[in-house]
């Protein structure tokens, strides 16, 4: 059945079959990207569309906009803490599970489960866990620390001046490190045991095996994890909204875009932020897609 389907003279059928989705992608992705670019070059402010040409003014204003600077800084903090945290933690979990311990399946699922939860749920829970209240109203982690006599660990979490984003990233690490673990675990399992044995025979200790054999062999996995986590952190929105709401110290480009467009009716500026976000994600993703496509073709 499949053979007849893929024969050349039936190709028209496959084109008909995929044409609705191609059309939908064309219209709802590419046409709308084009439209957003056009809006970002306009003076549109207010509820009625206004396509008066404004050149790159919206972009230029953003680059001198104090709030956008805060956004970029927050995104960098979030990305740094989240990506590095998830990769390190994910790798360690994977190495642990790879030691052939009892109940591996149980722990694997346990570490993976957070990924199945939506950011909103994570946010609501972590909002409570990271409650910065003091005195009798102390709760969440801070209360736990006080029970454990670890009071020095108590802190203001996401309300810490300047570094609050790092606390938000903690929640994201909790959610995504299981996923990174799964990536690494698959990578570790694909490394043939002979390589380790050969290294052992050559006199390498365990640390050296990881440093010179395992880690280099896992670099494609690290790259994938870096790209996937990196582009997620550029677009982060729901987690912050669930934990902290719309507040300036925890502002990121996606929240600014949403607020300025729908609360403030600055459509031109909102579109400009959207396009900048698109570009930053594309810079990260496109080389990676090209790389994977190439390697897949080679295989």
């Amino acid at each position: 059945m499949l053979k007849t389907f893929f024969r050349d003279k039936d190709r028209y059928l496959s084109i008909i079959l995929i044409s609705p989705s191609i059309l939908a992608v064309l219209i709802f992705v590419y046409v709308f990207i084009g439209w957003s670019v056009r809006v970002s070059l306009s003076k549109w402010k207010g509820i009625t569309a206004d396509y008066t040409w404004n050149g790159l003014d919206n972009y230029i204003q953003l680059f001198s906009d104090q709030r956008f600077h805060v956004d970029v800084r927050n995104t960098l903090i979030f990305t740094g803490v989240f990506v590095i945290g998830s990769i390190v933690l994910g790798f360690l979990l994977a190495v642990m599970l790879d030691q052939g311990l009892k109940g591996e399946g149980f722990f694997r699922s346990l570490f993976l489960f957070p990924m199945a939860i939506s950011y909103i749920v994570t946010g609501v829970v972590w909002r409570w866990l990271m409650n910065p209240a003091e005195g009798v109203r102390t709760s969440g982690f801070n209360l736990l620390f006080s029970y454990l006599h670890l009071d020095f660990l108590q802190n203001a979490w996401h309300t810490t001046p300047n570094w609050g984003m790092a606390a938000i990233a903690l929640a994201a690490i909790w959610q995504m490190s299981g996923y990174t673990m799964a990536l690494y675990l698959a990578g570790l399992r694909s490394i043939p045991g002979e390589l380790r044995e050969a290294a052992q025979i050559d006199g390498a200790n365990e640390l050296q095996i990881y440093r010179y054999i395992i880690l280099p062999l896992l670099s494609p996995v690290t790259l994938s994890a870096l790209i996937i986590l990196g582009h997620m952190s550029l677009k982060v929105f729901d987690l912050i909204i669930a934990i902290a709401g719309k507040q300036y110290p925890l502002d990121v480009p996606a929240i600014y875009m949403w607020q300025t467009t729908f609360d403030g009716l600055f459509y031109g500026r909102g579109a400009a932020i959207g396009i900048l976000l698109l570009i930053s994600v594309a810079v990260l993703i496109i080389p990676y897609i090209r790389y994977t496509l190439k390697t897949e073709v080679r295989q």
Binding site: I47, R67, T159, A244, Q259, D263
Partner: protein
């Protein structure tokens, strides 16, 4: 055989897509009115239902279509409404905060009709406060029918804490600051504050309390200079007052913050009078568990906000839409809606016995106070202006730099307000 099967599948798939796209058009018959709102839960939805009942009784021939959109305190609904208006498919009438939130957005876009004739025909001008009308008008045209009134400048306090510390309810900003100093010295948390928008709410009441009603109104029509020394003084007061607030304010919702007062964890909280509905829901008793007063400095002034309904330009059924507005502005309609929602009537002739102790006192003030509008809740500034003030406020909360904040406020008024 298999080829036919796939061809059939393809045709079915395309047909299904096309049919779904075309579906949904119910046959129209008789007149109907589509009313758009974000009243989908709690007292608001129940109040709307009560008002719809009044409407159905009076206009039996008109079908009422409740096009409410849930979520985000109206943010989602407003986005949906914006896309419908851009597509030229307006509902007959929609909900909006009375004042510049409606006027700045929809009058500028020529999307709502003036309602002066309706106000005259229904005699509303004589039953609503005179100082209210200019706040819901532009160039002499009235643009919406307010259904309910909430008060923004309310200072909630814990009577037990004040008595225990011999602190009288303050009536001026200076008294307030002195009272909070006393409380702080006694180890009491003087002020409960929540996330960013509740700080904007506090800011507008401190501006009002420091500047007084006339100069406060002047901020919004351009006659009070945002860069003036008086505004600096108000902002200095704001910084001082915020200094008495809980350190975890950024992580508290307005409910959390106002609850600190009734739980005895804080002495004062500034919040709109929907907080009273929340206190009652928690089973608290007015004047025992919580007391109220106008925010210090604003005695005799009623800083209001209101949900109101408009008439769409190009409404599919303008006559039915007008019928709806008549109900929304009528005594029967407002008496049905407000006791359920926990707000007072925009009319001053509603039956007081329908309301609780707090709301009765608010009704008295509504009928004899000077009425000014709220910033946070859309009366005095258009959306763009408000969002610029919000951004400036956010930066200010982080660095507490008064002069930078004030110049940002001046710039906001120039960019999106009446200051040129």
């Amino acid at each position: 055989m298999s080829k036919k099967l796939y061809a059939l599948l393809a045709v079915l798939l395309i047909a299904a897509t096309v049919l779904t796209a075309c579906g949904g058009g119910a046959p129209a018959g008789g007149s109907k009115v589509e009313v758009f709102s974000w009243w989908t839960g709690g007292g608001e939805a129940a109040g709307l239902e009560a008002m719809i009942k009044v409407f159905n009784a009076e206009y039996a021939g008109v079908e009422f279509v409740n096009a409410a959109v849930a979520g985000g305190a109206g943010t989602n609904a407003r986005a949906v409404l914006a896309s419908r208006l851009q597509a030229g498919d307006p509902p007959d009438s929609w909900q909006g905060h009375a004042g510049q939130e409606l006027i700045g957005t929809y009058v500028a876009g020529k999307q709502i009709e003036p309602l002066n004739d309706l106000y005259e025909a229904e005699g509303w001008l004589s039953v609503m406060p005179q100082t209210l009308i200019p706040l819901i008008s532009q160039d002499g045209n009235i643009y919406s029918v307010p259904v309910n009134i909430h008060r923004a400048n309310v200072l909630w306090y814990n009577p037990g804490i004040l008595t225990a510390n011999n602190v009288a309810v303050p009536t001026t900003v200076d008294e307030w600051i002195a009272a909070m100093e006393t409380l702080q010295a006694a180890g009491v948390q003087p002020l409960a504050l929540g996330e960013q928008w509740t700080k904007m709410h506090l800011l507008e009441t401190v501006l009002l309390g420091t500047l007084g009603a006339d100069k406060y109104n002047g901020l919004w029509d351009g006659s009070t200079d945002w860069g003036s020394a008086e505004v600096t003084a108000a902002l200095d007061n704001f910084v001082t007052i915020m200094g008495f607030a809980n350190t975890d304010s950024a992580s508290l919702s307005w409910q959390d913050a106002s609850q600190l007062v009734i739980n005895g964890d804080a002495a004062f909280n500034v919040m709109g009078d929907w907080a009273e509905g929340y206190f009652r829901e928690l089973g608290k008793t007015p004047n025992t568990d919580y007391g109220w007063a106008p925010v210090p400095g604003s005695v005799g002034v009623f800083q209001f906000l209101s949900d109101s309904f408009v008439l769409a330009v190009g409404a599919p059924d303008p006559e039915a839409a007008t019928d709806w507005l008549k109900v929304a502005g009528s005594k029967a309609g407002q008496e049905a809606f407000n006791p359920v929602k926990g707000s007072i009537c925009a009319r001053t002739d509603c039956d007081k016995t329908l309301f609780g102790v707090y709301l009765q006192s608010a009704m008295d003030d509504w009928s004899n106070n000077i009425v000014v509008g709220s910033l946070t809740h859309g009366v005095v500034a258009n959306d763009s202006w408000k969002s610029e003030i919000d951004t400036a406020l956010g930066a200010f909360i982080a660095d507490l730099n008064v002069s930078a904040f004030q110049s940002a406020l001046v710039a906001a008024c120039q960019n999106s307000g009446p200051c040129q």
